[in-house]
Amino acid sequence: MNLRSERVRGWIWQVALLAAVAGLLAWLVGNTLENLAARGIQVGFGFLDQEAGFAISQTPVPYAPGDSYARALVIGLANTLIVSAIGIVAATLLGVVVGVARLAGNRLLAGLATAYVEAVRNVPLLLQLFVWYGILTEWLPPVRQAISLGGVVVMSQRGLRFAWPQAHAGWAVAGIALLVAIVLAFAWRYRAERRRDATGSAPPVLPVIAALLVALPLAAWWLAGAPMAIEYPVLRGFDHRGGIAMSPEFAALAIGLSTYTAGFIAEVVRAGLLSVDRGQVDAAKALGLSPGQRLRLVVMPQALRVIVPPLTNQYLNLTKNSSLAVAIGYPDLVSVANTTMNQTGQAIEAMAIVMAVYLTISLAIAAAMNLFEARTRLVER
């Protein structure tokens, strides 16, 4: 072993550093276990099988207080995923609109968009959530004086309730037919493009797709019995019953997260659009492309290259910011884990579960966005 060689010395340093890190980790774990044992706190994940004993207000999957802690955490995870998914979609739509508006020629529109972005970016998210929650619980009327829009939508302090069709197999069949229609629509579009590339003339695309998406589900619904029964929300006892409910906690969190992240996404979109060379737009105009074609075929593909990486960042931020739900009473994963931690005393295991779940979600989002980003890259020889 030649100590003079830089390679050998490099290896020695790396091994030493690795040993130091491993030693630090081992000492941390050992010290933690020793302290926990001294205090009489149990270690291990056995608590997940015990009865939870507490109720959760939003349960997308059925849950009762007699179920286990593991199930309660699954409910929390489902709630986090739902609010994150809705938040991501809404924030993207709103962010794109505001970002484009900031670049509009109309001074008022651009000014409003700028004001929105500055307001939303500079106030801490937690305060914004409190404001939204306060608005939804204090400005909306109490349950007994709920605002009813024709009996179909009922708004009160307790949340929104929508009339919803009663459960019937016909709706499930219609839903499946809709999915089938979407697949057929993609297939038709692909076939139409191939025909256009080969012969120069394309069969009509949009009318056929529209017909498919309307006619197929409608036919399926009619054939399955044409169920027409609708459940209306009705005031009984303390609150309305029937229909689909959206609690103020969920609404406040979804709106707060969406508007906050939309401000950041607007800036990302604006940066992307500004990054496209002016010459590209001029060339597209010279070629005779319509404004819609210009945006779709020339500007957006180039802008997307700049937009997608920071957009991934914003999606991850939104997902992690959803953990602020504990401050306004929405039972997301962190909120349920917090309660679990307090009732069982197993803080480290609960936090480890939460960290592992958020890590998995974030990696999944990042992986999906990376796949999308790969498609926007310049294809070089």
Partner: protein, 335 residues
Amino acid sequence: MIRAFLAGLAMALFTTGAAHAGSTLDAIKARDSLRCAVNTGLQGFAAPDSQGRWSGIDVDFCRALAAAILGDPAKVEFRPTNTQNRFTTLQTGEVDILSHNTTWSASRDSALGLVFAGILFYDGQGFMVPAALGVESARELDGATVCILPGTTTELNLADWFRANSMQFKPVVIGELSQILQAFFAGRCDVFTSDISGLASVRLGTDRPDDYVILPEAISKEPLGPAVRRDDWELFTIVRWILFGLLEAEEHGITSANVEQQRKESGSPSVQRMLGVTGDIGKGLGLDADWLVRVVGAVGNYGEMYERNIGPLGIPRGQNALWKDGGLMYSPPIR
């Protein structure tokens, strides 16, 4: 540069290993201050006034403890905690004692690494509703929306009781007391549930107490008391005997006004033992001989503490009276 870093790392590794050894009592004396976790703001138990001075029965208990250990009831640092971090602040050593109107329960005594040193206040869980609802009994609450604090026995008892009575409810769970009260008073929920003393305290804190009514049912036992860490036997014994000392003082008629006089003049052997004139109870506990004199001199006896803090809430002694008067407060003898 690298050598300095490695040396520093090695030093950090080898010296912090001993951080958890050494009792809390020594740490309190070395620091010359007691760290006490209390409620963020519940009148009668622990609440800061506009100048930042804390008052309440839990606060007074911490002051009594500081008077006994350090000689000065003012040497307390109060850490406001909510129901979600109160246990972790005690478990991690951030505070020395938890005096947060916390219910003593089996799981908390065993699985959290804490032990409860005694019962400062016997209570039960109740419901508070707006009077306008016209509800007169908790059994009429099927389908109600209930505001609760997470991580409490209240949350679990609520689910159990509704299940046992085949009723449904919708929970609204918010972590901070001030936020959940705001939701309740705004009408977000029909019912607020907590210990009855807490409900009384909250009700009196509103502008119009008569708009809210506390329902007659008490659905559980909620004995509230201080807790310390499980490996802290010296502190545990001291806390326990200060609690008993306060009761014994009331039983023998020793008040903050007459404690000095009693020490000098009392002929009763039990009083002399309690106040350190004879015997060495204090030494056995690890305190000075006049520990109870200092405690009673600082906060009075249990009855005085109760009258000062809980009396304004309008809650009669009831279960919290001495055993001689039909209550549950019973102290083993100090001898």
